[in-house]
Amino acid sequence: MNQESSLPTTPPDKQSQWSGGKETIESPNRWKKTGETWLIGLLLPVTLTLGWEIAVVQGWSSDRLLPTVSTILNTLWDLVQSGELPTHIANTLQRVFLGFVFGTLTGTVLGSLSGYWPLVRQLLDPTLQALRSIPSIAWVPMFILWFGIFETSKVVLIAVGVFFPIYLSLSDALRSVDRKLVEVGQSFRFQHHELILRILLPATLPTYLVSLRTGLGLGWMFVVAAEFMGAEYGLGYLLIDGQQTGRPAVILGAIVIFALLGKLTDWLVALLAGCWLSWQDGFQTGENHA
């Protein structure tokens, strides 16, 4: 050590300037890139809808079975003005929200327990796996019998849909947490709840947040099933109503709203996830789900 060196050395203050400058260059590029990604994603749907619109306006085709975008928008606008659409949306949102909350809570608690304690897993998992393979619609008559025809049965059905992906991925992810990190906790004499709260759950957070999005997606699917079983309001009801009164524009309008709301809520959860996961060091974690 301490031998004389003829190599030129960079003074420390210069080094820090250099690395400090590098970070600021990157950000405008990233914004530009995000903008381009958006445009590319929009290209296909915009071209298709414009093409269809032109085809109908030119008389090459009729919009009786597949209404054009403008017809759908007009129909939706009418529904907004009559006040029906906001009521439907509010009802559906409320159901999805409640179902999502209950499904997430139970999925998180049971998933944590069965991921952490082998005994709980042995006890619960076979039953839950069996229940999972039952098609959701098959529950509808039983839920109506148990919880009545009104809100409870619908919320329960949605919660069931949300529950399974969260339960499954959380309990699996917990069991595959790196033993080495757990050992660090053990060497500091962590109690069970500390191991779960301070190591296992944070370590599974990325998987968990993805499962929340999957759960939410299933929640949106199940709300339609729930609203098919006799609702007076809700987007699912609007679908049925459109079918029974022979108005495809209403059906498609409801579908569009479903798509928008689904995307919007998914985006909210993804946004939340992004805030929570800034520590992640994965391949392409910087590029987020747009």
Binding site: M1, K180, L181, E183, V184, Q186, S187, F188, R189, E194, R198, I199, P202, A203, L205, S278, W279, Q280, D281
Partner: protein, 252 residues
């Protein structure tokens, strides 16, 4: 004072990793345990740390048996094992979570200064180099002011320069509180540079082959002729241990 008596570890699959392993370590001693890969070095440290249980024998720290992890024992693993979701200072505070928050902050700040990473306290682990990460791991083990610090090949994944740096750094830190250091390594030079005493392991099952006190003045010079002499002596000893094992497997 750490006393290891006739320790044996047989893994559930029947593999005998350690047998009849006895060793005493004085308070404040720097002990290096040298052995090839698969000698049972990590197994031994995990037992001392209380992370695993021996199948026979016992480990006594200040007269009481080590049955589970204890606050007087700190561990630095081969990998930094930082929690990627915590900032550096929170990672270090992991080891003293039971203290009041102000004392935690003070201690974390002090120990990060001592390992020379005070400016990085708010960074994420992914933003550190390997050497920095390992220093954070050292800070996390030291922040609880352990009586015994166990190090499992802590620098083996680093480049030579960084490794030498951190070895010198470790000695500087040791001077402060003079904890007992038990350093497990396959690097003879590392052992010679740091240790007061070197124990050479014999593989399969892991046991003590020989034990040397190292009479070299600190700071030690790696190019020093005496250092090099010790080095070849130890190398011969290690080779002998490995060959003895080969012979026994051949004749078996």
């Amino acid at each position: 004072m750490l006393d290891i008596r006739k320790l044996q570890k047989r893994y559930p699959n029947g593999f005998l990793a350690l047998a009849d392993f006895s060793l005493s370590v004085k308070q404040g001693e720097i002990l290096a345990i040298v052995g090839g890969s698969g000698c049972g070095k990590s197994t031994l440290l995990r037992l001392i740390a209380g992370l695993d249980q021996p199948t026979a024998g016992s480990i006594l720290l200040d007269g009481t048996t080590v049955l589970a992890p204890r606050p007087e024992i700190g561990v630095v693993f081969q990998e930094p094992r930082l929690m990627p979701w915590l900032t550096i200072s929170k990672n270090v505070a992991f080891g003293i979570r039971h203290l009041p928050i102000e004392e935690q902050n003070q201690r974390v700040e002090r120990v990060l200064e001592r390992v020379g990473l005070a400016t990085l306290s708010q960074r994420w682990p992914k933003e550190l180099s390997g050497g920095q990460a390992q220093r954070v791991a050292l800070a996390r083990a030291l922040v609880g002011q352990p009586e015994v610090l166990l190090l499992d090949e802590p620098y083996s994944a680093l480049d030579a320069l960084t490794r030498h740096d951190l070895q010198e750094h470790l000695l500087k830190l040791w001077v402060d509180q003079r904890p007992t250091l038990i350093l497990v390594t396959h690097d003879i030079e590392e052992a010679l540079f740091l240790a007061d005493r070197i124990v050479v392991l014999q593989p399969q099952p892991g046991r003590v082959k020989s034990s040397f006190p190292v009479y070299l003045e600190h700071p030690r010079q790696r190019q020093d002729s005496l250092f090099l002499e010790w080095r070849s002596k130890l190398l011969a000893e290690l080779n002998q241990a490995a060959q003895a094992h080969e012979k026994s497997t051949l004749s078996a």
